[in-house]
């Protein structure tokens, strides 16, 4: 209140600052037009669309097998989760049965991908608040996950590994052994990040009570994923509407208290621990058997429409697909979690500082490939 009085007397002039699309910490080609009064943000106008590739329209021209490669490129930090949700949509339409082993491998890899994505978040969030070392540590650990993906799927990022009806091929022989040592290393790396960043006083000062999103606001905006859970709403599709075989694992949902940047950060860090626990259980339960239900390559699902949703690292991804019985879908609509989370940016940013803008945007953990599609 006092601050505003001072401003009135001084009669300061607002300045428009164009943050992005080429700004180091807008996490891609996101653009915010900030109206700042000194250091305080008065108004925000977010601009998206710089990475629009027309993925949804492209899907209409491709056969189902090819669409998996397009879904890889939506949220390019959690490719396997995207592949999985699309494959599940087609499988639901065709009422395919997935072999047990394939389900387990899918879940293990998806959780691994979630860990990779969250590790990257922790690293880049550290960069946003100005700490340069966490990002290096996290990239070191993520590199191990990437190597694991390379050994299993053959690619480090765009895997095209989860196929309609199962997975592309069985995991290599030393998969379980390697996963176990990887999990040990990941736990160690995570502890390091926890010690280095989480309870650092400067970090707390920068993130506590910044960008607070109330549960009501989060629900009204349709925020999902860790950003929603940080506000204290325990909604996780893996738990509430278990898909695949998530109902067989014992894991918790980390929820925050007030939904500030620190909560959003720590919920993700805690989620990594839960994901690691899921992976451990899945590795223990991993059955033998087939890995794919054979389908025709040029498959034609029956006429109909389907909506499938899944829990991505960034939130709830939904795929709405209409099939007209041909080899190409009539329409594919993706509900991207990043896009819905990003909509809160205007409310969160107003009356914060320029430095907070970066932190808040970072804490929402958006991927522009998914926002613009």
């Amino acid at each position: 209140m006092v601050d505003q009085d001072i401003n009135k007397k001084l009669d300061t002039v607002q300045m428009m600052v164009n943050m992005g699309p080429q700004h180091p910490s807008t996490h891609g080609v996101f653009r915010m037009v900030l109206a700042v009064d000194g250091e305080r943000i008065v108004d925000v106008e977010p601009h998206i669309g710089y990475l629009h590739r027309g993925s949804e329209k492209l899907c209409e021209g491709e056969i189902y097998v090819q669409i998996v490669t397009l879904f890889d490129r939506l949220d390019y930090l959690s490719n396997l989760n995207n592949e999985m949700v699309f494959c599940r949509a087609v499988e639901k339409l065709m009422e395919l049965e997935i072999p047990e082993r394939a389900e387990y491998i899918r879940v293990i890899l998806c959780e691994l991908n979630r860990v990779a994505s969250h590790l990257l978040f922790i690293g880049t969030f550290g960069l946003d608040v100005g700490a340069m070392t966490p990002s290096m540590y996290m990239f070191r650990d993520r590199e191990k996950i990437q190597s694991m993906f390379e050994a299993v799927t053959g690619a480090r990022m765009m895997h095209n590994y989860i196929r309609i009806g199962g997975i592309k091929n069985d995991v290599p022989d030393d998969f379980i052994h390697r996963m176990k040592s990887l999990i040990v290393e990941l736990k160690k790396g995570l502890e390091e990040a926890d010690k280095l960043l989480s309870f650092n006083e400067i970090f707390l000062a920068r993130t506590k009570n910044i960008g607070t999103m109330s549960a009501k606001m989060a629900i009204e905006y349709g925020v999902s994923g860790p950003s929603l859970r940080a506000s204290g709403v325990p909604i996780d599709i893996r738990k509430d509407h278990p898909y695949s075989i998530y109902d067989r694992f014992d894991f918790g949902i980390p929820i925050g208290e007030i939904g500030d940047c620190w909560d959003r950060y720590y919920v993700r860090l805690e989620e990594v621990r839960q994901s690691i626990s899921i992976m451990e259980q899945a590795l223990y339960q991993l059955p033998d058997g087939d890995t794919i239900t054979p389908t025709r390559f040029l498959l034609r699902p029956p006429k109909g429409e389907v909506y499938v949703r899944g829990e991505n690292p960034r939130g709830e991804i939904g795929v709405y697909m209409i099939s007209d019985g041909t080899d190409k879908p009539y329409r594919v609509k993706v509900r991207p979690p990043s896009f819905c989370n990003l909509m809160t940016i205007k409310d969160l940013l107003i009356d914060t500082y320029v430095a907070d803008a970066v932190v808040i945007l970072g804490s929402l953990d958006i991927v522009l490939g998914e926002v613009d599609r």
């Binding site: 090819q66 053959g154 765009m158 390091e192 309870f199 006083e201």
Partner: protein, 164 residues
Amino acid sequence: MLGNLKGLLVTLSSMLRKPVTYQYPKEHKPIENRYMGFPVLMWDSQISEPYCTGCMVCVRYCPTQCMTAVMKDNPLHAEGVSKRRKIVDSFEINFGRCIVCGICVDVCNFDAIEMSHEHELSKYARNDNRSDLTRLLEMGRKYQEETDWKPKTNAKESEEEASS
């Protein structure tokens, strides 16, 4: 303050550990067996001709339309050396467009195309990575030597399937 001190200790302790860097151009990270590099064509060294018959199934299923293929009658078949009636005449993959999805390998009936371990293809001109048949086969032979590659299916059966 305790958090700050803890952080300082973490950085200090990791300073005493070994770096994890690979000195890239000198030292390469080992490539995993399954690594999918760019697709290349395989060379049948028994008959000394490519496996590829130019059937264009990979061309049709490629999500980015990065390949072209032309088929011709196999002269070696006429001589009775080869069992392939048709053989690839020209083949081109634009590696600049290829997204390394592996669909071409999945659809190929002749084990003619494989995802190689080739991934360092920097070139000076935009179109220098449009690879013709000779280059693809060369890369393929390099891959075959590297990994001791064997065809997965019986080539004979596939040959008949194609000709029928």
